[in-house]
Symmetry: C2
Subunit: 334 residues, 2 copies
């Protein structure tokens, strides 16, 4: 069984060289260093190449240059609605730089994340780790080896894209104040989430004049949100800000079950703006710009490939006001 049989019958520079009556070197240079050749030669070779449908073999290129033209993005759960827009815009940005994208889904496990990274490392030029579960130590170890961009993880010295909730959160608090709410609940996300930590801080620092009840919901999910409603009611809050939109949607469902109508009896603000327009009523939410983050991460990584200077990009957020926030009224149901 010859290997040639298994191999795709791709067009190689040799074929083009023969067809164009030049050497293989010239074909190679026509693509990688056109300045070295006469413009006519470049045009000619490229014309022949495209006529033959030539596509460079990355593996071969990688072998001699050490550059692979691939990057990897690792997420804890692609099914979480925050990540698809991020991955999508990242892949789009990578495409314009002619980089192909590996996707790794760690299933929220640090161990699987480490395995994925090890598996991909030998064939990528860099990593984008979105909300990594990995220990700081391992991340730093990896970052020492090759370009790494973090999303929503704040490690000094490592390039990262941080979605700064403070703008949107502050707006949310202001809005709720203006609407007359005096006691609000924060449905907190995972303790080890940088986003959650930041949101807590913003809340406690901007909430002068109103009381904030922090309610832990554990792993953020629809069910967790729904089940947190009894605690919300117990807290006496007239409004809540939830860690993310999925939790918010659960809360909406839980409130409905109890006959508490939104926004007349209760106001709710989500975060991330992933589902916002799709809930009933449409959810007021802090936009997170996952797509923007994806683009930013890709650009940062691409830049990093040439110039290894650490940088940090923060993305501002704002409040998108929809139909789940209204002036406080005397509660009809309790």
């Amino acid at each position: 069984m010859s290997p040639r049989l298994q191999r795709a019958p791709g067009v190689t520079i040799g074929d083009i060289a023969a067809a164009a009556q030049v050497s293989r070197s010239t074909v190679s240079r026509a693509f990688t260093r056109p300045q070295l050749l006469s413009p006519e030669t470049v045009d000619h070779v490229r014309a022949v190449a495209s006529r033959l449908g030539y596509v460079g073999n990355q593996a071969a290129r990688a072998l001699s240059t050490g550059r692979f033209g691939n990057i990897a993005v690792v997420v804890p759960d692609i099914a979480n609605p925050f990540f698809p827009p991020l991955v999508r815009s990242l892949q789009s940005a990578a495409e314009t730089a002619d980089l192909a994208v590996f996707l790794g889904d760690s299933d929220e496990s640090a161990e699987r994340e480490a395995k994925l990274i090890a598996r991909l490392a030998p064939q990528v030029e860099g990593f984008v780790l979105a909300s990594p579960r990995l220990s700081e130590e391992l991340i730093r170890e990896l970052a020492a080896t090759r370009p790494v961009v973090l999303v929503n993880r704040d490690l000094e010295g490592i390039p990262r894209v941080l979605i700064d909730s403070s703008g949107g959160m502050t707006e949310a608090v202001m809005l709720l104040k203006k609407l007359g709410h005096q006691r609000i609940a924060y449905l907190a996300g995972p303790r080890d989430s940088w986003s959650d930590q930041q949101r807590r801080e913003v809340l406690t620092s901007t909430a002068s004049g109103l009381t904030v009840e922090v309610i832990e919901v554990g792993r953020p999910s629809y069910a967790a949100g729904r089940d947190s409603v009894s605690a919300i009611v117990r807290s006496g809050a007239t409004a809540a800000i939830a860690f993310d939109d999925v939790v918010s949607q659960g809360v909406l469902a839980g409130l409905e079950l109890r006959g508490i109508s939104v926004p007349s009896d209760f106001s709710l603000v989500g975060c991330d703006d992933t589902l916002a327009a799709l809930t009933t009523p449409a959810l007021t939410s802090v936009s997170a710009g996952a797509a923007t983050a994806g683009t930013a991460a890709a650009k940062l990584l691409i830049q990093l490939l040439d110039d290894p200077t650490a940088e940090c990009v923060t993305i501002a957020t704002h409040l998108v006001i929809r139909a789940t926030t209204a002036a406080v009224t005397s509660r009809v149901t309790r």
Copy 2:
């Protein structure tokens, strides 16, 4: 600037060969074909290799074997909720076979899809094309070159995973009949979608005893669903089946706007079961098992890598009854 400087200072088989006092071939065989060597040699070489921290260079291996250990999955839009579970389970299955996964997002464009495929082709062993927009001709051309598995596209002779809606659709029709509905609407998806074609057929063939109004909504989206409500009302239907859950959610919103309450005044069934549990009220939907499809596609492709025998897997669907379907009543609102 020498390429060596850019390259990671990896240990190569040459280093091991020198350290172990054997030839490079022997080192290679110690890993790829240990049966050919004496057990002692294998042990010795491997010991030296691990002492030196050897990690095989995929690019080099790929170059000579034509096997990359990579596959690619191409989707029209990763942000469409149908795909993340599919990609997720596919990547998980691939991981167990030690395959890394490239993700391509074609942004619903046949042209970008073709480009992505061409870009990835030289470094993958096979493709999973989910709901490809590509022409049959190009798909067949690609499939002639390398293993290709299609998801929700039915091309004779090419391995494919088809989510067979007929089971779930039939159940849905039966349910609506039983609940007393006599006139139902089908909110149809894109004409070129295999799933849509299949669903239309099932509907018209099983719908004896009731009238089906087909309403075209164009590109399936929340807005399209919401805006189709006037047509639904005009049709006089008391229940509707929508092309997918996103459309359904739009319909729910549109119905709410008109004060038509679900399910007391109107029954609604979605398809794909992607959002089902998250709507208010919770949507009755035809489960599509996107995750199952992902796993099936991965397994099919893995199998295909060894044994190029075309096969077709169909995935059965069933109806998940939730809170948007109820017995028909006299309509309060019109």
